[in-house]
Structures are given as C-alpha cells and as structure tokens.
C-alpha cells in the first residue's frame, strides 16, 4: 500500500541528510521524496510517498517525529488531497514521427519543452498514474530519458497540514 506523508521541517542544512539517513537505516522503502521551501523561508515541506504496511508507515511517522528539526508529520488520507508530479520526457524521433508524438502530447495536454532534429522533450504535470500512462504511450517511440520530480501533495478544501506562520505552533 502507498502512503503520502507531508513532513514540515526546519530549513537548515543537513536536515535532508538526517531524513534520508533514517530511511536507509531503518530499511524503509520510499517511492519518492520532494522538498521545497514553504511560504515561510525558515520552513520546508517534504512530501514523501512510501510503500509498506500499516506497521511500517506508523514507524516511519514516529521515527520522523523524533528528529529534532522535524516540526510536524502528517499522513494525507486517500481522497482528501490532490497530488501532482512534474515529468520531462525526452523521446528520440525522426522528423516523420514528430507529428505523431505531438498528437499524443496534445491528447494529454503535455507541453513541448524542447525540439531538436532527432528528439523532442515533453513537459507534463499530473498525478502519478497519469504520468505512467503517458510514459507507456511514448515508449514505442523510444524514450531516451525521463526526469520526474516526485510527488507533491496538498490537502483538499481548507485543510492545512501546517500553518506556516513560524511562531504559531502551540
């Protein structure tokens, strides 16, 4: 089973290594990890997508919480959040195939990030599964490289994983 965790951390150097070290040390498997600063520059948010049973994810949450620079860990419940991932896909193509690839891009509303003589790079952002679908559609044309950012997620409605005013924590 897949879980999405939103982890609010102090924006110090070394925090990311503490977190990534924790995963390898405790043998947790993660699918993706994405980091970025929040509206408060002193605080970053890390979105982690992890795989495992309830025991593993509960331990993961608790162990993350023990790290001093971790301010909050929130498990995002299925159906209660929106998630997106950005992908850049470089497809090798001759000029004859270019139109075909562009049509595929059009169907899913992927943008063209770069075109060259023998390749085309598409930019696409959507949920994880839809990205997988696009990747499958493009496979027959010969994918040269894929870069994915990892999933970022936010709660639906006015739910807040963390109100990022730095001093608001009780």
């Amino acid at each position: 089973m897949k879980y999405t965790l939103s982890v609010i951390v102090e924006n110090h150097s070394g925090v990311l290594s503490k977190i990534s070290g924790l995963f390898s040390r405790r043998a947790f498997n993660i699918d993706s990890l994405a980091v970025g600063v929040t509206s408060n520059p002193a605080i970053s948010r890390i979105t982690i997508v992890a795989n495992g049973d309830e025991y593993v994810v509960e331990q993961l949450e608790k162990q993350l919480n023990k790290l001093i620079p971790v301010i909050k860990v929130k498990r995002l419940e299925e159906g209660e959040y929106v998630s997106r991932e950005l992908v850049l896909i470089k497809v090798g193509c001759s000029s004859q195939k270019r139109d075909e690839i562009l049509r595929v891009a059009q169907v899913v509303s992927a943008k063209v990030a770069d075109v060259a003589n023998t390749s085309i790079t598409l930019e696409y952002s959507d949920t994880n599964d839809r990205i997988d679908t696009l990747v499958n559609l493009l496979k027959p044309y010969g994918i040269k490289e894929i870069v994915r950012t990892g999933t970022v997620a936010i709660e639906k409605g006015h739910g807040e994983a963390y109100h990022s005013g730095y001093n608001d924590k009780k």
Partner: protein, 539 residues
C-alpha cells in the same frame, strides 16, 4: 570581547558542569586553553572512547550530565563507539568535538572528519556550530535535548576558528524553544483508565521494568505500585535496580540470559505491563508470542517504542513517574488475585539453584553475590560485557545502590571507564567494576587515568583465558569449534604494578572474599584477579 572558547566554558558553568572527561588535540586547543583558567575539573583519559563511557557512568550516577571532549578527526571518531553505547542505552551525554577551521571544511585537510555526519545514527541530536554567536543557544538546547524526553547523547562539533573568534558579549538563554521538540510527559487520562480496567480484569499480571524506570527517577513509585497491587516485577538488563533484589515482588531479570522463574512468570502471565523498556531481542526473543497470549500495556516516553517490537493493547506515552503516580491513584487499594502471588513466589524459591563450585577456581556467581554485601548498601557495581555481565546481572544483590552495564550496545571495555565516571559522581560510594580478561584489556589503558587521579575503584577481573561468552556460543551452536576465543593473558599483576596499583590473584572464593574484605577498607584503587574455570556457564 569574549572568545568562543571562553563562551563554551561559561556555558558549561551555566549548566552546572564541574567535571569533564577528555583528550586534547590541535582543533580543540582554544577550548583547553580556556579550560586551563577555569575551575572545571578535567580528567585526562587515555582514549576518547573512555571519555564518553566515563561521562556515561557519571550521568547515570549523578543528577548531572556527563560531558566529554575530544579533538577533530581521530579524536572524534574514537568517540563513536562511546556515543553509540550511550545512545542505545538512552544515557544523556554531551560530546564536544573540535573541528577544523570553517574555511577548510570539506577539503579533507589534516584531522578532518565529518563527525556530525558519521554520528547521525547514534546521536539524539547534533550541531555543527558555524557562528560563535550561536554557541550559547546551541549549548542550552543540547543540554535540554540530552536530558529531557527519552534521554541520549548530543554532539556539538565546533570549528577551531569558532572557538577563537571573539564576539561582543555572552548571555546564556534561560528559555529553550525548539519548535520540533516537545516531549509529552503526561500520560493520556483515558488510556490510564483503560490500563487500570485491564489490570483489574486480569488474573496473572506482571510488570516488565526497563531502564526508563531508572532514568525517569520513578523507581520508588514502581516499588509502591508493586507493593500495593501485589503485581510481580521482572526487569530487563537495563532495568536491574528498579527494586531491591530481595524484594518479595521482584523476580529478577528476564530474557535469554535471565532467571528461569522470571521467564516462566512472563510466559504464564495474561497481562504484561511494560514500563520504560523496548523489549529487544535479548529480553524477549519472540515478542509476537507474548502478545498472542497476553494483553500488553506499554508505558514509554518515546512514542516510537510503542508498537515497535511488541503489539500493544493499551499504549501510554508519558513520563514514567507521572504515569505510575496516576496509576496508583486510579487503582486505589486494589490487589491482584492471591493465587498468582503464591504461584510466582513458589517458583522463585523452587527454581533457585546454588551454583556448583569447581575446585581450584573462583565460582564467579557466588562471589558476585557475596561482594554485594561487602559493598556498602548504596554501592555501585559496573558490569562489563560477556559472561561476567550475566554473572553480575543475575547475582548482584542490589539494595539501594546501582547496577550499571551496557545492555543495548553491549560494548566490551565499558566497565572500567564507566566506573571511573561513577566514582567521580559519587565519591563516597563503593564502586566496583567487574570484567572478564577480554573486556578488561579493551580499555586497559585507563589504568593510567586511575593512577594519575587516584580514582578509588575496585576492579574484579574474572579471568578464564577465554572469550567466555563467545566460547559458550561456540560450544552450544557451533559444535565446540572454538574459533579465536583462546586468550593468552599477560601477567595482570605486573601490569597493575607498573601502574602503581595494588592487586591480588586468587583461586578460590574464600581467598577472594578475604582479599575483598580488606580491599574495601582502603581508599585506593585495587585489581582483584579471579581465576575462573573456562567451563563455568553464564547462567
């Protein structure tokens, strides 16, 4: 103007530190220069690992935090085993290391090691100080983090130029506010109610007490709880000392090397109340079996421990003292079924065996039992790691004193430096280190520290010319193939003499007891070498 090094001293003074253990080197020289002018006592150890163990023993026996200091590079990396030991036993220790100058960081210069990186898995928290102005805040936070919640070691790595740099003024913060660190001390009311209901419903409850009971200072509360309710107490290796050994409610240590009757009581119980213990594999080999037959109440300050090794029926996160107080309040004068009390007491009497004596050798288990009463009531016994540890754990009759050992990491060589720390923390108490001839030699160099500072500890070396614990394992599980477990010992008496420490070698319990009797009357260190038969088992 005040230098970073002077600030470090002022921070230590503000935290009430009067003793530090350490070893100097170039990158920590500014600190040592300031230390020279201060009133803080410095104990020069012979290797940095010992500085951490000594600070560990010091912490465990005082209400203060042990502090240790080392230089950058090898000084710092030598500390790692000590740090890992303190971490796995949840002992508060502050480790200060010098680091190369900021402009040289990351260039692999002389004696540079990324010690905060290397220690990451073994510290509760660590700091690499980049700005002299941050020093007071870092020290304040470090002491706070080390001593609150689930305690543990905190490392402060300070580049040489941060120590040298002068800033305007020094002010020690009186408050700490770490946004991501707010340990929960009060047990949840509802869970405490549920726990009491479970206890009242159960027929054969048992308490498993771990190191958390000792570190939270709730030993007397636990005794009170056991006395009023009649619930028997067994302890983990780290929990030895939660109750006097002879207490009618106490059944000894559990686990693979524990007492038969303690394990029997655990097996037959229907409710296990786990207090400040993580139930590692040596305590309970198959925790899933326990949770199949018993309900489990788990009390711990660290939420991550609950549900980690054993499935829990009622989790209570909070400070042990607070939670046990609430349990006592809530349970009133309830007493558990008398049938169970009689059953476990019967086991305790019936399953006890006096160890057989081997002619011409010291019987270590009987000797440890005897020593317990030769030491004053508040005496501190530090056991090393190996067979000697199990002999002590199962036979030291603790009264008001302490039993120290490393249960989590199991670091050989712990006993002598930890006993030094314990003695410096409690100069009026008897402090005995018990080790094997293997573990004694792991930190043998500390005899130099003992000599130089005349640290009055008594060292008992259980000598069998073997690495006994491993040899026993080889006998039981590896078809008597004794691979690398024979130990040719030097003449320990000559070594003792070289260090100016008095010693004796004995071959029987009568001899050992006669020497020990005299040894406790002197005010100087002593080494008692006891020749033990190699086939003496752990239990």
């Amino acid at each position: 103007m005040i230098s970073g090094a002077d600030i470090m001293i002022k921070c230590l003074e503000a935290e009430g530190v009067d003793t530090v253990f350490g070893y100097p080197g170039a990158a920590i020289c500014p600190f040592y220069d300031s230390l020279y002018k201060s009133n803080i006592k410095h104990i020069l150890v012979r290797m940095e690992q010992s500085a951490v163990h000594a600070a560990n023993g010091y912490s465990r026996c005082s209400n203060k935090v042990g502090v240790c200091v080392a230089t950058s590079g090898p000084g710092a990396t030598n500390m790692i085993t000590g740090i890992a030991t303190a971490y796995s036993d949840s002992i508060p220790v502050i480790c200060i290391t010098g680091q190369v100058k900021r402009e040289l960081l990351g260039r692999d210069v002389f004696q540079e090691a990324d010690i905060t990186g290397a220690c990451e898995p073994f510290v509760k928290h660590s700091y690499l100080v980049n700005d002299t102005k941050d020093l007071p805040k870092v020290f304040r936070e470090a002491f706070h983090i080390a001593t609150t919640g689930r305690m543990g070691p905190v490392l402060i790595d300070i580049p040489q130029d941060v120590q040298e740099e002068c800033i305007e003024s020094f002010e020690y913060p009186d408050k700490v506010d770490i946004v991501g660190y707010k340990p929960n001390y009060r047990g949840h009311k509802m869970q405490i109610k549920r726990a009491v209901e479970l206890i009242k419903k159960s027929e054969r409850p048992i308490i498993v007490a771990g190191g958390g009971v000792l570190s939270s200072g709730s030993k007397l509360k636990l005794v009170q709880f056991a006395e009023t309710t009649g619930i028997p107490v067994i302890s983990t290796l780290m929990g030895i000392g939660v109750m006097p050994s002879e207490h009618m409610r106490y059944l000894g240590m559990l686990g693979t090397h524990g007492k038969k009757y303690a394990n029997r009581a655990l097996q037959e119980s229907d409710l296990v109340i786990v207090c400040g213990a993580r139930l590692g594999d040596r305590a309970v080999a198959r925790p899933d079996q326990v949770s199949k037959t018993s309900k489990i109440i788990h009390i711990d300050i660290d939420p991550a421990e609950i549900g980690k090794n054993v499935k829990t029926t009622v989790p209570i996160v909070g400070d042990m003292k607070n939670v046990i107080e609430k349990l006592i309040e809530e349970i009133g004068d309830y007493h558990i079924p008398h049938e169970w009390c009689e059953t476990y007491r019967e086991w305790k009497e019936k399953l006890y065996r006096e160890p057989p004596v081997k002619e011409g050798f010291v019987e270590p288990r009987s000797l440890v039992a005897k020593l317990s009463f030769m030491m004053k009531s508040k005496g501190i016994l530090v056991a090393d790691v190996g067979q000697n540890q199990i002999w002590c754990a199962n036979n030291f009759r603790i009264r008001e004193g302490r039993f120290l050992t490393t249960g989590g990491m199991g670091t050989m060589g712990y006993s002598v430096p930890a006993a030094m720390g314990a003695k410096l923390a409690r100069p009026t108490r008897d402090v005995v280190a018990v080790c094997g001839d293997g573990s004694f030699q792991m930190n043998l160099t500390e005899l130099g520290t003992i000599m130089q500072n005349n640290i009055n500890i008594k060292i008992i070396v259980m000598r069998n010319n073997r690495l006994g614990m491993v040899r026993e394992l080889q006998a039981n599980q590896y078809g008597n193939r004794y691979s690398a477990t024979i130990l040719d010992d030097p003449d320990f008496k000559k070594i003792a003499e070289a260090y100016g420490i008095k010693s004796a070698e004995v071959n029987s319990n009568a001899e050992a007891e006669a020497v020990a009797e005299k040894m406790f009357q002197t005010k100087e260190p002593f080494i008692l070498i006891c020749n033990v038969h190699p086939d003496t088992p752990s239990i």
